[in-house]
């Protein structure tokens, strides 16, 4: 793996069979002039020098067996793990988050939504941390609106994990209401502690259930997702 020192910021979007948000992620990144997005096929063995790897939303392998459970064995996931071990930036959105938990690259596991129904709706999130490459352009306590769209988004973890997550401040986003109150009513899926997104200990791997790529243009629902991509671009360009 060689880090790039010039040119656009390279986003490698991993396509699994059954992914369905890879085009949207590509399109959304296309609205950022500094971004240079490209697709990666899950059977590949080379990440092609990315600055950021994105595992997009969808239903990899039809969500069969367990959501994300089969995709984690795709050949390219070995490279993704090596990339993140070396400090590379990885963001898993929705199904990507599910894959990251199955791959043990993030804490916890996903259960079916409480209510046992698929849920697609606008959602408020409270920003819990801004000292990550994914959120540095946001402010702690900011409320951003990013839609959720999933059937298995009730993130959960064992007591030990929860303690560690708490101690290390790994939670980056929590479901909240429009005023930023983290309440049970504002929780769309029953996730423990309203966790909507969290990072690993190194802070270089983020998983989140909401879809920031869906809110990068005002004509289709707002710009609430731009902050995440702005943060990543800022970070990559700064550390170069």
């Amino acid at each position: 793996m060689t880090a790039r020192t010039s040119g656009g910021v390279r986003f490698g979007i991993v396509v699994f069979p059954g992914s369905n948000c890879e085009y949207d992620t590509m399109h959304a990144l296309g609205t950022f002039p500094e971004a240079e997005p490209y697709y990666l096929w899950h059977k590949d063995h080379d990440l092609r020098a990315p600055d950021v790897v994105i595992l997009p939303g969808g239903f990899s392998y039809g969500d069969y067996l367990r959501t994300g459970a089969i995709a984690r064995f795709s050949p390219l996931m070995r490279e993704v793990a090596a990339f993140s071990d070396a400090g590379g930036l990885v963001m898993g959105i929705c199904n990507g988050f599910q894959i990251l938990t199955e791959a043990h690259m993030l804490h916890g596991a996903m259960l079916r939504n409480r209510g046992l129904k698929f849920v697609c709706r606008a959602q408020h999130l409270r920003v819990e941390r801004t000292d990550t490459p994914f959120t540095r352009s946001l402010r702690v306590g900011d409320v951003v609106q990013i839609p959720v769209n999933h059937n298995e988004g009730a993130w959960t973890a064992g007591a030990e994990s929860l303690q560690e997550i708490e101690d290390r401040r790994l939670v980056v986003f929590r479901y909240c209401d429009a005023q930023g109150n983290v309440t049970d009513d504002a929780n769309p899926n029953g996730a423990v502690d309203n966790v909507a997104g969290l990072v690993n200990e190194g802070g270089n791997v983020l998983g989140l259930m909401p879809h920031p790529e869906r809110v990068c243009e005002s004509v289709v629902g707002g710009a609430g997702g731009r902050g995440l991509f702005d943060s990543l671009l800022e970070h990559v360009l700064e550390v170069r």
Binding site: N20, F118, V119, C120, N149, E213, V219, V220
Partner: protein
């Protein structure tokens, strides 16, 4: 084999005709193939004669009816493919899988034309899921017409609503389960709950796809010596005679036994199938492409051959199977899902195989194109069937003598003969806002991914969904409409009204109607009154299409929607496509700023006949619905579109179910702001306040404009000959309506509680 043909649903006359065509006694395989191709579902034998009435030509039409889907040009080298199709019978037997495979089937129809599906819509009908106020012991329900009450004729006693709730919830889950996984947003549709559907729910799925002109592919086989390639899933015994057989007969007490004949969906395989098809179309690897739907290999191969005027030799032993011991006739008629048939040149075959391999899909050469004009079926080299393809694709017509149904009357009800409402008007209003036919559909569409692909500008819940076109900066508007109650009272007027309302909905978001697809859901066409409903509904729809200059580019017919001899309401469902040049020139239903002027366009007098109010509060469906004045309708929609393009309108909302009061409430709720209106200008001469509020009429739109442009807007209306009346102004925390001497005041919070929770509460009420 006389027993076999009857068992397969063929008549003695048809059997004789088959013998004549074949020149001998048909083989088992041949008889199975004929029986399916000549079923109502595949052969349209009761409906074809009437369907010819539809206007199908237009300068935008690139493909009319007769293909997997119709296609219209939308400029910029782009075209839209669309179609709506029913999966009623399978959904009544197994709702989740029935609905899911309905969505899967219509998606394949669209990508079989080379188009990428960009959205789904679903038009649903079930029996009642909760009681109406008219069911109270002391209600003033009037007699006559069709009584609205829970429970199907012949259904088991007790808990009449549980079965309907089960069907509804599982159909919604099935639609979401398939569409969400496919990455195709479900952006619209409708649902109604009527007793008449308690034995036969309706599940009509519509898909719209986008294709560049040069990538359009058709199903016409060509090129003697070319390969016939089957790819996608393996073939199993699931769905043998599923859609085609179920959809060509009435239901009786043997319903449960039919469960195994419903297909099982695998959206993951379909997603791979979609991607591989579009990838191969991009590189021009298909001579022809066809999805496998009802009647499986049988219909796809014979239709491909018949369209191309060629023959196909098909080798059943080469088909990858789920169960090794399947008979040739079973392989020919299996309705296993997620399969496609393509004609591929020998030179392109390796590329097609390699792409399927990459996506982990089976891909097998199962036959070749011949010059025989026959579909010939071989099993391990032995010919087990040999039929002329054009004879299969040309089912004999059945002509039934038309009879007017007994319940139809020539005049509307006399509203004065109805008892006065036995509740305060505000209470009736809150009941209507919470009615399952009217309440917010959020509970449904939050279970659907309605945003994926990043085009959804106007979400479900508006008059029509609006999708931006990333390629051109324009937009597509789509909706489905169809009112079974109205069509039951007058099939001709109901058919006309369905097209008019669909066009109105598309116009209200700022788009011009350019094409129609339709699904005709009716009872058993062998009965004179049913065929009469069918032919007159088509006449009304056709006249309306002609008035708007909008061609019918595709469609589907679902007959035999009867249980225990009881037919559904005749239900034509219209899918309308609208086109707008500029996505920014759009309009929604929400009221905007305090002080904006509220106007009603159109002056058709409100009627009780077939209204939601009549059904819920008087417990009947009777009378005759008003006829749509098509000339007035065309003018009104033109004004609405012009005003939207010119940026004059703050909001526009079609006035339909629940009448003017409900339309006003919906604009208030959507905007989060109240209004103060005087409804006397909309009374249409009626002295009944309830009729003014809740009566229904076509060709009416509630709009709001900024005070500064109100004058100019009224001039525009006047110049165009469109009646407009100022009702009042936007503002406040309540909807305040004055009608005659009465004042009705409904706080936003109370209306929101009723409207937002109505559907969910109806599912829970005991």
């Amino acid at each position: 084999m006389p027993e076999l043909y009857a068992e397969l649903g063929l008549t003695a006359g048809e059997y004789e005709k088959i013998k004549e065509i074949q020149g001998r006694v048909p083989t088992h395989v041949e008889l199975a193939v004929y029986s399916l191709m000549w079923s109502e579902h595949c052969g349209y034998k009761h409906s074809r004669a009437y369907l010819r009435r539809f206007p199908v030509d237009g300068e935008r039409v690139l493909q009319g009816p007769g293909e997997n889907a119709g296609i219209v040009d939308i400029g910029g080298g782009l075209a839209v493919a669309m179609k709506v199709e029913s999966h009623n019978h399978p959904s009544a037997v197994e709702p989740y899988q029935g609905a899911a495979t309905g969505v899967g089937g219509i998606l394949r129809d669209i990508f079989a034309m080379g188009a990428r599906p960009i959205c789904n819509l679903d038009s649903l009908r079930f029996g009642e899921i909760a009681p109406s106020p008219a069911h109270r012991a002391d209600s003033p329900a009037v007699g006559g017409g069709r009584q609205a009450e829970g429970g199907a004729p012949g259904a088991p006693a007790g808990a009449p609503y549980d079965r309907q709730r089960y069907l509804f919830e599982h159909v919604v889950a099935g639609i979401g389960g398939y569409g969400n996984c496919m990455g195709v947003p479900t952006v619209g549709g409708e649902v109604y709950f009527e007793d008449a559907y308690s034995g036969n729910c309706l599940v009509n799925a519509m898909t719209v796809g986008l294709v560049r002109h040069e990538n359009i592919v058709r199903s016409k086989a060509a090129g003697v010596g070319n390969h016939v390639v089957l790819f996608g899933s393996k073939t199993g015994r699931d769905g043998i005679g599923g859609a085609s057989v179920l959809a060509s007969q009435e239901f009786d007490e043997k319903l449960e036994e039919k469960r195994p004949s419903v297909q099982v969906g695998d959206p993951f395989t379909e997603k791979k199938l979609l991607e591989v098809c579009l990838e191969l179309l991009q590189s021009g690897r298909f001579v022809a492409l066809q999805d496998l739907g009802a009647a499986g290999i049988t219909s796809s191969s014979s239709e491909m051959a018949a369209k191309g005027g060629v023959g196909i030799d098909f080798h059943t032993d080469r088909v990858p199977l789920r169960e090794a011991d399947m008979e040739p006739w079973e392989i020919m008629i299996s309705e296993s899902q997620e399969r496609m048939l393509a004609i591929v040149t020998p030179a392109d075959q390796p590329e097609v195989a390699a792409a399927c391999e990459r996506w982990d899909l089976d891909c097998t050469v199962v036959g070749e194109v011949t010059n025989t004009g026959h579909l010939r079926v071989f099993h391990h080299g032995e010919m087990v069937g040999d039929m002329p393809a054009d004879a299969l694709a040309d089912a004999p017509l059945c002509v039934v003598e038309l009879e007017r149904p007994d319940h139809e009357v020539d005049s509307p009800v006399d509203a004065a003969s109805y008892p006065p409402p036995d509740a305060p008007l505000a209470e009736i209003m809150l009941d209507l806002l919470a009615a399952p036919d009217i309440a917010s559909r959020r509970w449904i569409w939050e279970q659907y991914d309605h945003q994926v692909q990043l085009n959804t500008v106007i979400l479900p819940g508006g008059d029509a969904a609006l999708l931006r076109l990333k390629e051109t900066g324009g937009a597509l508007a789509v909706c489905t409409d169809g009112n079974g109650r109205h069509t039951y009272l007058d099939p001709y007027r109901g058919g006309k009204a369905a097209v008019a309302e669909a066009a109105r909905n598309v116009s209200c978001v700022g788009a011009e109607p350019i094409a129609v697809t339709n699904c005709l859901n009716f009872g058993n066409p062998e009965k004179g009154p049913i065929s009469s409903q069918l032919s007159r509904a088509i006449e009304g729809m056709a006249e309306a299409c002609e008035a708007f200059g909008v061609p019918v580019i595709s469609g589907n017919v679902s007959l035999y929607n009867e249980s225990f001899g009881q037919a559904i309401y005749p239900t034509p469902v219209v899918g309308m496509l609208g086109l707008s040049d500029d996505v920014e020139a759009r309009c929604g239903v929400a009221f905007g700023d305090a002080g904006d002027v509220v106007l009603l366009l159109g002056d058709a007098p409100p009627a009780l006949d077939g209204s939601e109010y009549q059904k819920r509060w008087f417990g009947c469906v009777e009378g005759r619905i008003p006829d749509v004045d098509l000339e007035a309708e065309v003018l009104l929609q033109g004004v609405v579109r012009k005003a939207i393009v010119d940026g004059m309108l703050r909001s526009a909302h079609d006035c339909s179910d629940g009448g003017l009061a409900v339309a006003l409430a919906e604009s208030c709720l959507s905007g989060g702001i109240g209004a103060r209106v005087d409804l006397d200008p909309a009374a249409g001469g009626s002295g009944r306040h309830d009729l003014v509020l809740f009566g229904e009429a076509p060709t009416r739109v509630v709009v709001s404009v900024a005070p500064a442009v109100s004058g100019a807007f009224q001039k525009l209306c006047e110049g165009a000959g469109v009646p407009s009346a100022v009702l009042g102004t936007v503002g406040g925390e309540a909807l305040r309506m004055a009608v005659g001497w009465e004042q009705i005041e409904l706080p936003l919070a109370a209306m929101r509680d009723a409207y937002d929770n109505g559907l969910e509460r109806a599912l829970e009420v005991r």
